[in-house]
């Protein structure tokens, strides 16, 4: 009697391969990754890649239009020396845009980090303990939501002075509400899972359960919220700088560049276009990254 050889099954792709396939098939996610990585590289390599110093201008080369004005309008001053033109002080626009990405990304990441720590701590506690803790946290969230963000941020920055640290802290302290709400819901869900109950039964400490069992399970929604709040922080910094109470001149914040370009609105429209497009691209990339992570990690939630 012989045993029939078992036909070798084709090796099933590992979960990691499957995930990578889904990531690559998701156009929005790929776009988001490419934009964010490109912006990060640009920000990190700024001193190496800028064609000119972003802070020194010269009267002789003020308001040179971007290179395409040479192609389409035969503008005599436009050319490749200043591919994206110069501003009203004669500073190279491209170099300022590149340095501007540093400010946006720094504020975006740091504010997201601060608000993430505050919000997810509150959300975890509310979702895990429920009852009175939950009520108190919901109350905090409601109170926070009733404070107008731009107004309060402006007022605080006006009083405390506008440095990067102040901006990061103010935005971080104002943008944690979504973290708390989403983390609360996710934790409530994770808390009802069997292994958390098992952990409780064998006497694991609460902090162990929260950090080692619950937190890894709510990481995906956390990442999604983090992208939303990072985008929010970047938009808010730009708005504050635009209103003159954010990043100080001569720093090349995109919002500040737009404030300076506003006076040129009738004559040099491109000055308004470029920083706005940079902001729009960065925020779009971050948003698509967040949407993509949500889709890829929870296909059943695709809607």
């Amino acid at each position: 009697m012989t045993i029939a050889p078992i036909a070798a099954e084709p090796a099933a792709p590992s979960p990691r391969t499957l995930m990578w396939r889904r990531v690559r098939a998701h156009k929005g996610l790929m776009f988001g990754i490419v934009v964010l990585v490109a912006m990060l590289l640009m920000a990190l390599a700024a001193p190496l890649i800028v064609p000119h110093d972003p802070y020194t201008g010269a009267l002789a080369r003020r308001r040179i239009p971007p290179v395409w004005h040479a192609w389409f309008y035969d503008h005599p001053r436009a050319g490749w020396t200043y591919p994206l033109g110069t501003d009203r002080l004669g500073r190279d626009y491209l170099s300022r845009l590149i340095y501007g990405s540093q400010i946006s990304l720094l504020i975006g990441f740091s504010a997201m980090f601060v608000s993430g720590i505050i919000g997810s701590t509150l959300g975890l506690l509310a979702g895990y303990f429920g009852g009175k803790v939950d009520m108190v946290v919901s109350f905090f969230v409601t109170t926070r939501l009733s404070l107008p963000v731009v107004l309060v941020a402006l007022a605080v920055v006006a009083v405390a002075g506008s440095s990067l640290i102040v901006l990061i802290l103010v935005l971080g302290l104002l943008l944690w509400d979504r973290f708390a709400v989403v983390m609360r819901a996710a934790t409530q869900q994770a808390r009802s899972l069997d292994y958390v109950a098992a952990g409780e039964a064998i006497g694991c400490s609460t902090s162990y359960l929260l950090l080692r069992e619950v937190l890894p399970n709510v990481l995906n929604p956390l990442i999604v919220v983090a992208t939303i709040e990072m985008a929010n922080a970047i938009l808010l910094e730009a708005a504050l700088s635009f209103l003159g109470l954010g990043v100080r001149p001569p720093q090349p914040s995109w919002g500040l560049m737009l404030a300076e370009a506003k006076e040129e609105i009738f004559f040099n429209t491109w000055m308004i276009g470029l920083p706005g497009i940079a902001l729009f691209l960065l925020v779009l990339g971050i948003n698509l990254l967040g949407d993509g992570v949500r889709d890829v990690t929870a296909p059943e939630n695709r809607n």
């Binding site: 929005g28 109350f139 409601t142 109170t143 939501l145 009733s146 404070l147 107008p148 963000v149 731009v150 107004l151 309060v152 402006l154 007022a155 605080v156 006006a158 009083v159 405390a160 985008a231 938009l235 730009a238 708005a239 635009f242 209103l243 003159g244 109470l245 919002g255 737009l258 506003k262 609105i265 009738f266 429209t269 308004i272 276009g273 920083p275 706005g276 902001l279 729009f280 925020v283 779009l284 948003n287 698509l288 949407d291 809607n303």
Partner: protein, 307 residues
Amino acid sequence: MLRFAIGRLGIAALVVLVVSVIVFGLTHVAADPARAMAGENATAADVEAIRKAEGFDRPLPIQYAEWIGRAASGDFGRSYLMKEPVIGIVAHRLPVTLTLGVMALAFALCVALPLGVLAAVRQNSLLDRFALAVAVLGQALPNFWFALVLIVVFGVWLQWLPTSGADSWEHMILPAVALGYYATPALMRLTRTGMLEALGSDYIRTARAKGLLPPSVLFKHALRNAVIPVVSLAAVQFGFMLGGSIVIEAVFSMHGVGYLAWESIQRSDLPVIQAIVLMIALFYVVLTFLADLLNGWLDPRLRVAGA
């Protein structure tokens, strides 16, 4: 229902109270009211004299109690710069901001509701994808930049609409679009989800089986149910718009409450800032309270779960 309403009212009142403490703390601990009142060129002796005369040297809780007591009856003190009662200045500027907010919300709903309904009816169609693309792109547009782009296109190039001031309804169109578009993606998505849910439900199948006309099924039965959460989101968004109009008012030089707040912040006119922040918070709290009541009234399940 009454218990639910009273519970919500209690929370709302507590929120306003806490916000008032934050606002007061912000202007009295973080900033120095005596120095702000004295102005930039005042000597140290002047500042001290004002501190004594205005009672800024007394314990903070006493000052707070006095301030909140007066604020409750509508007296927010006098503006440091304009030397007039704050309440009058704010009331004078309020119509511009409220008109702007209402028009912005109207614009948002006019875009979001039809697009949301159509996207749900023709799910996964070209139109559905178009609506999604509009939502994704709209969410990434910085509102003050969008405002500038609107000015360039419709004010400078086409010269169709005025670009600054708030004198006529035509002045309001661009600002309303710039303020309102930001609320459209969320409202549209909610309409779409609600419609999809409603269209898949049993009562819609019954209505269809009875032979009701498709428009009647769509508007009388499905939309009515789908629109409930949209109404409460719209109320919340309206609250956010009043707070966010500061940027738009600054771009279009509209002398509403937001512009007033911006000016007051730059000149540290503390009583005006206090009044505006507190007022906007109050608006938001009242709006969410009404939205909660509406939801609780329409959906009895919430009264138990939310109370």
